[in-house]
Assembly symmetry: C2
Homo-oligomer: 201 residues x 2
DNA sequence: ATTATAAATGAATAAAATTCAATATTGCTT
DNA sequence: AAGCAATATTGAATTTTATTCATTTATAAT
C-alpha cells in the first residue's frame, strides 16, 4: 500500500523536527502528532512506541550517507586520496545536516539499543568500507602494517566523531570544514601515511 | 550542617547505582528513594529535579580522576612519558569504574546541559592539563608545531573516547588495557612524536 | 450498493515526575 | 529539661506523558 508508507514518512519527518529541536526526553508524542497532523493514537499504528519511532529516523539518512559517499569516492584511486575524501565528505555531510547529526551523535549512537536497529547495519556498512580502504592502503604500502586495522579505524572515526561532537556541543559556532586540513594531517601521520612516495618523513 | 551533606551523598550513591544499572530514562525517582531509604519528596529537598540529581553524580568522580592523575604523573619528566602515562591512566580508571564510565560517556558527556554543570568544570581542568603537556612537548621539540594544539588534543581525547565508548557499547567484553599499546603507537605517530631522539622514523 | 477490511481517532488508563500541606525532628534559648 | 523556632521528612495529591482500546471513518472488493 503506497499511502501507508507515505504517512509513515510524514510522521518520521515530523519526528526529525521535534526530536532535533528538543531531545528524546523532552519531545512529546503529542508535539509530533500535531506537527504531522494526525492523532496521537495514529502514531502507534505505525510505530511500536516512542523509542521505535526515534530509531526509525536514521535508517534512511544513513543509507543516503553511504550512497553519496560511494559517489564521491568514484574515480579516486589510492587509499591516500580516498581517506582524504572520506574525511571531507564526513564533515561536509554533517555540516549540511546538523539537526540529524545532533540526534545521531548525541543521542542514538550512544544508546545501547542502537546496536539492534536497522540504522546500525548501515552504519556498520560504513565502518566496513573504511576497513577496506585501510587494507588497500596497507597493500599499497602507504599504511603501516604493524598496527591493527581495527585500531586504525578507531583512530579515524575517533577523531572525526570527537571533532563533530565538540562542534555540536559548542552550538555549531564555526565552519566544520575548517577542521578538514588539520584532521587530515593528524590522521595521515597517525597511520603512517605520507605525501612523500618514498614513505619517509 | 554536616548531616545534610551526608544525606545528599547517600542519595547520590543510590542514584549512581540505579542510573548505571538502567539508564536515565528508565530509572525512577521511587527506585532511588527506596535504595536511599528516604521518601520521594526528600530527593526534591536536595535536588531541583531528576536531571539535577543526575548531573550531581560526576562532580566528585571527576575530581577524583584529576587528583589521582596528578599523582600518577608525579616524577615523570618529559611530555612523551606523561602522554603514555595519561593514556594508561585513562583506560585504567574506566576499567576500574565501568558503571561510572557508562553513565558519563553514554549519557552525560553527550547532553547539552552537561556543559553547564560543575562536573564539566573539572572535566575542563583535565583537558587543560593535556594542553599543558602538549605545549611542553612542543617546547621539547618532540611534538610538531605545525598542528594546532587544540586539534592535537582532539586527536588524543578522540581516540581514547572512541575506544572507551566502543568497549562500553560492546558490553565490556575484553580488557580495556589491552588497547593501551596500540593507542599509544597511533597517538605518538599522529602528533609527530618518536621514541628515537633524532626525531626521524 | 453492500460488506469486509484497514486506518484513524481521542477519550480513558497507566506510570512516573513533581508539589505541597501536614508531621516530625533538630537545635537553640532560658 | 521544656518550649519554641527553624529545618527536614513524609507520602498523598497533582500533573504530565506515554500507551491502549473501543468506536468511528475511510477504503477496496464483489
Amino acid at each position: 500500500m503506497i499511502k501507508r508508507n507515505l504517512k509513515k514518512q510524514l510522521i518520521i519527518q515530523a519526528a526529525i523536527e521535534v526530536f532535533s529541536k528538543n531531545n528524546f526526553q523532552h519531545s512529546t508524542i503529542s508535539q509530533i502528532a500535531q506537527k504531522a497532523n494526525v492523532a496521537e493514537g495514529t502514531i502507534y499504528q505505525y510505530f511500536k512506541n516512542k523509542e521505535d519511532l526515534f530509531f526509525s529516523i536514521p535508517v534512511e539518512k544513513t543509507k543516503e550517507f553511504c550512497r553519496e559517499l560511494e559517489l564521491h569516492l568514484q574515480g579516486i584511486t589510492g587509499a591516500f586520496g580516498k581517506i582524504r575524501k572520506f574525511i571531507w565528505y564526513y564533515l561536509y555531510f554533517f555540516k549540511m545536516n546538523p539537526e540529524y547529526g545532533r540526534t545521531l551523535m548525541l543521542e542514538m549512537r550512544v544508546n545501547k539499543s542502537f546496536a539492534k536497529t536497522k540504522a546500525y547495519s548501515s552504519f556498520k556498512d560504513l565502518t566496513d568500507r573504511i576497513l577496506e580502504i585501510i587494507k588497500e592502503g596497507q597493500e599499497e604500502g602507504i599504511i603501516r602494517k604493524d598496527v591493527d586495522i581495527f585500531i586504525t579505524r578507531h583512530l579515524i572515526l575517533g577523531i572525526l566523531e570527537h571533532v563533530l561532537t565538540r562542534w555540536l556541543l559548542k552550538g555549531e559556532q564555526y565552519d566544520l570544514l575548517e577542521r578538514c586540513d588539520e584532521v587530515n594531517k593528524l590522521i595521515i601521520h597517525g597511520i603512517g601515511l605520507t605525501t612523500d612516495p618514498n614513505g619517509l618523513k
